[in-house]
């Protein structure tokens, strides 16, 4: 790539340029690479470019919200967009942020920050951060990337602490397990979900606790994380996360408020602000999840709450279903937890489903766990995902080509797992009930998408539906990062230069991407477009029809190379017409129209119902005429001998006439006296 071309591709918003040659590895985070950046108008402005690595969905739909926020506690996001760093890995999303001049807070905590007392640290840390979070929450967005390695000193003097980027990855994935609320911590990192202010304030509490302890619990190993999770489930997050740490009473009260496992009781902006202003109060003492009257013993471990038990059962998936049935889990839920509705739901799930090994048994256990722990993640085999984390996790499963996870996600939607928790909402709470009904309708729609095998639907359709700004992941165009239908068409046009006749320009990703962007939400609307019937001709015509439909959204987008690609593949469609004259006309017209780059024009040539009808009629007439001619020939051959005889007889008559004429001639001659 030329330098000019490279420059062009590294400019965001026409003003900010990422500098590919300047790597800033000290600002790298998992799935984010840091580079130098410059403002083309203000050369002295210190900026940094964070480029999302391939393989992770990003939250670019929140870019406009984040750009508007100017708070000291949040590194200013000045611009964002898609660039090509020129490293051969294709185009990626990147954000330009103000450069944190004082470095990472975590490094400072281990050195100069060692001597700061708890209250001083709380003022330094919490005051700017709660203001930044409030600004985000007021815009209905949660940060969800709150962690010590994403916390910086914005200034050289290290007086201003600010949170870093929150757009370059799935929500919650970048947070340590200790920073996630207990429900979301049980989910896979990419499936922790969008969350809300309560999740951000929990993460803030965990961040503060970690800053005080100068370490993040659960990061040492997978066992440490599992142990932390177990302790959080049994003893509550506050106890588990502040284990063996000694705080002053004030700070302890603040942490108890922020780290409450009961989301309703958890402290928010007002409480933390009041605490910082000196109106000290103490968070609720009962910060753990509701406890059962008696424990349920599974694998020798006593579980006293539903989430703890659900997590343990999900970890021992193969053996759990038998235990659930034999140990009468439904009775435990109904009596020990005191929730008869959930108990009944478990009974129904076991009665209605299969209880043997295999997919049927998996579905039954998944339904049981969804009823057992309606606030926790949806669990199926190795997958645990929050309802609002389905989109990012499906995206990661596609980006990582993780078939097992994709299969599990499709089964979850087909089994209606998200709807089980929603059906357990308190019927007397009108607001929650309405919200649940609306969510239920959404999940029903998604289930319909998964159930439909037609191209344009399936799990790919769910992927683009739940990730509205995700670029099309088709291998044909993924490098170009197309986020809109015209971008996709242009990417295909570019791809067409190297495409052979054997490569189809539409795959399941492209079909689903277009269907989502065109809001074609029911299969019937696509039936005539993407499935024409059996055979190669129908398939290729369907591809043309879908792309033509896509082009109609912005008819000024011209794609001559894509049109040429399609024309090369339209042979079977042209051959499906019977009339040679029609076919020759079509071939000539397609060649003529292709350079114009209008797919509708191509479609009008090969997919005209009147022409098709005329062709069929012509074929029928030709068949009839051919049959009639065959009959005529047969008839002629059959009568050949008879006609010959008739002709010979006629010859004899002629001979007789000639004889008479000779006789008459002789008579005449004799009469006239010449002979």
């Amino acid at each position: 790539m030329s330098e000019a071309g490279q420059n062009e591709h590294t400019i965001i918003g026409g003003r900010y340029r990422m500098v590919p040659g300047v790597r800033l590895e000290e600002f790298d985070r998992p799935h984010v690479e840091a580079f130098g950046a410059e403002d083309l108008r203000e050369k002295d402005r210190p900026l940094i470019a964070l480029v999302a690595r391939r393989g992770r969905p990003v939250r670019d739909d929140w870019l406009r919200v984040v750009r508007r926020i100017d708070q000291p506690g949040l590194l200013r996001t000045v611009e964002g967009g898609v660039i090509d760093p020129g490293d051969g890995k294709g185009r990626r999303f990147a954000v330009i942020l103000e450069r944190p001049l004082g470095g990472r807070v975590i490094d400072w905590l281990k050195t100069d920050g060692q001597n700061r007392d708890d209250l001083e640290l709380s003022r330094l840390l919490l005051r700017p951060l709660i203001a930044a979070l409030k600004a985000l929450h007021d815009a209905r967005m949660a940060h969800r990337t709150i962690s010590l390695d994403n916390l910086y000193f914005a200034d050289l003097a290290r007086t201003r602490i600010a949170l870093g980027d929150c757009l370059c990855g799935p929500p919650g994935e970048g947070q340590p397990i200790a920073f996630e609320s207990v429900e979301r911590a049980a989910a896979l990192p990419a499936g922790r979900g969008e969350g809300g202010p309560r999740e951000d304030f929990f993460a803030l509490g965990a961040l503060f606790a970690s800053a005080l302890a100068r370490q993040v619990p659960g990061l040492e190993s997978a066992d440490a994380a599992a142990d932390l999770m177990r302790r959080r489930l049994e003893r509550g997050s506050y106890v588990a996360l502040t284990d063996r740490a000694r705080f002053g009473t004030d700070v302890g009260g603040l942490l108890r408020g922020l780290l409450s496992d009961n989301a309703e009781e958890r402290w928010g902006y007002e409480e933390v602000r009041a605490w910082l202003d000196g109106r000290r109060s103490i968070g609720a003492m009962h910060s753990t999840r509701p406890q059962a009257a008696r424990s349920f013993v599974f694998k020798g471990v006593e579980h006293t709450n539903a989430m703890s038990l659900a997590t343990a059962l999900a970890q021992q998936w193969r053996e759990s279903l038998r235990v659930v049935i034999d140990e009468k889990l439904d009775g435990w839920v109904a009596r020990a937890i005191g929730d008869e509705r959930r108990g009944n739901m478990i009974t129904q799930a076991i009665a209605a489903g299969r209880v043997d090994a295999g997919p049927g048994g998996d579905a039954t256990l998944a339904r049981v766990l969804a009823a057992l722990d309606p606030d926790g993640p949806l669990r199926l085999r190795h997958v645990a995902v929050m309802k609002d984390g389905l989109g990012p996790l499906i995206a990661v499963a596609f980006l990582d080509d993780d078939r097992d996870t994709r299969q599990a996600m499709a089964e979850m939607l087909m089994e209606g797992l998200p709807m089980i928790g929603l059906s357990l909402v308190d019927p007397n709470d009108q607001t929650k009930r309405r919200l649940a009904q609306s969510e239920m309708a959404d999940f029903m729609r998604l289930r319909g998408f998964v159930a439909e095998p037609m191209m344009g639907f399936g799990l790919e359709r769910v992927l683009y539906d739940l990730n509205p700004t995700l670029p099309c992941l088709s291998p044909l165009v993924a490098e170009a990062y197309p986020q809109t239908v015209p971008d996709l068409l242009m990417a295909l046009d570019h791809r067409a230069r190297g495409a052979g006749r054997g490569t189809a320009p539409v795959d399941r990703h492209i079909a689903a991407f277009i269907a989502t962007r065109l809001s074609i939400s029911y299969a019937g609307a696509l039936r005539g477009v993407v499935v024409g019937g059996d055979g190669e001709a129908s398939e290729r015509l369907a591809q043309l029809n879908l792309l033509s439909l896509a082009q109609e959204t912005e008819p000024q987008t011209r794609v001559p190379m894509l049109a040429r690609w399609l024309v090369q593949r339209l042979g079977p469609v042209v051959q499906s017409y019977n009339g040679k004259t029609t076919r020759e006309w079509m071939e000539k017209e397609l060649e003529r129209v292709a350079p114009l780059g209008s797919l509708s024009a191509l479609r009008a040539i090969v997919d005209n119902p009147e022409r098709r009808e005329a062709d069929s009629r012509g074929m029928a007439n030709a068949r009839a005429a051919h049959a009639q001619l065959s009959f005529g020939i047969r008839r002629l051959n059959e009568t050949r001998a008879a006609r010959r005889l008739e002709a010979q007889n006629f010859g004899r008559q002629v001979a007789a006439m000639l004889g008479y004429m000779i006789l008459l001639g002789v008579l005449a001659a004799l009469t006239l006296g010449d002979v």
Partner: protein, 155 residues
């Protein structure tokens, strides 16, 4: 039943076929009584016709008619000479003894035979040619249809 029908159909044809020779013989018999020299010339000169008349079994008897007409055309000049030279028996005997006369009479009959042989053959050739032309025309139209609509139109 079928045999009966065939017989019923064949009977009148046979009767009709036998009428002409009988008339021929009756005329000759009458002439032998009243015009013996003429009858002699006719009996000898028209012998090919008599054979043809007896052999003819096709409806219309065009072979016999053609040969008879030609034969008659060859015999008539001989008769005219006979009648112009007095219609004498001696003259008649002299004439029938003349090979040139024989050649004239039988040659004319031969022309008749030739016509009968050639005319059906030529007519047959023309009929075959016409038939072939018609078939070729229909096949060409079929080929044109096949070329436009493909081989599947035969299905």
């Amino acid at each position: 039943m079928a045999k009966k029908k065939t017989a019923a159909r064949g009977k009148p044809a046979k009767q009709k076929g036998m009428t002409l020779p009988l008339i021929f013989l009756a005329v000759l018999g009458t002439l032998a009584i009243f015009a013996t020299p003429t009858a002699l010339v006719l009996a000898i000169g028209m012998a090919p016709s008599l054979v043809a008349v007896f052999m003819e079994n096709r409806p219309g008897a065009y072979t016999a008619k053609c040969i008879t007409a030609c034969n008659m055309a060859g015999v008539l000049p001989v008769l005219r000479d006979l009648w112009l030279t007095g219609h004498l028996m001696s003259q008649a005997r002299m004439m029938v003894g003349d090979p040139i006369v024989w050649l004239q009479m039988y040659g004319a009959a031969g022309v008749g035979w030739s016509l009968v042989w050639l005319a059906p053959m030529v007519a047959g050739v023309f009929a075959d040619a016409g038939h072939d032309r018609s078939v070729a025309r229909l096949e060409a139209r079929q080929e044109k249809l096949r070329e436009e609509w493909g081989d599947s139109i035969t299905g």
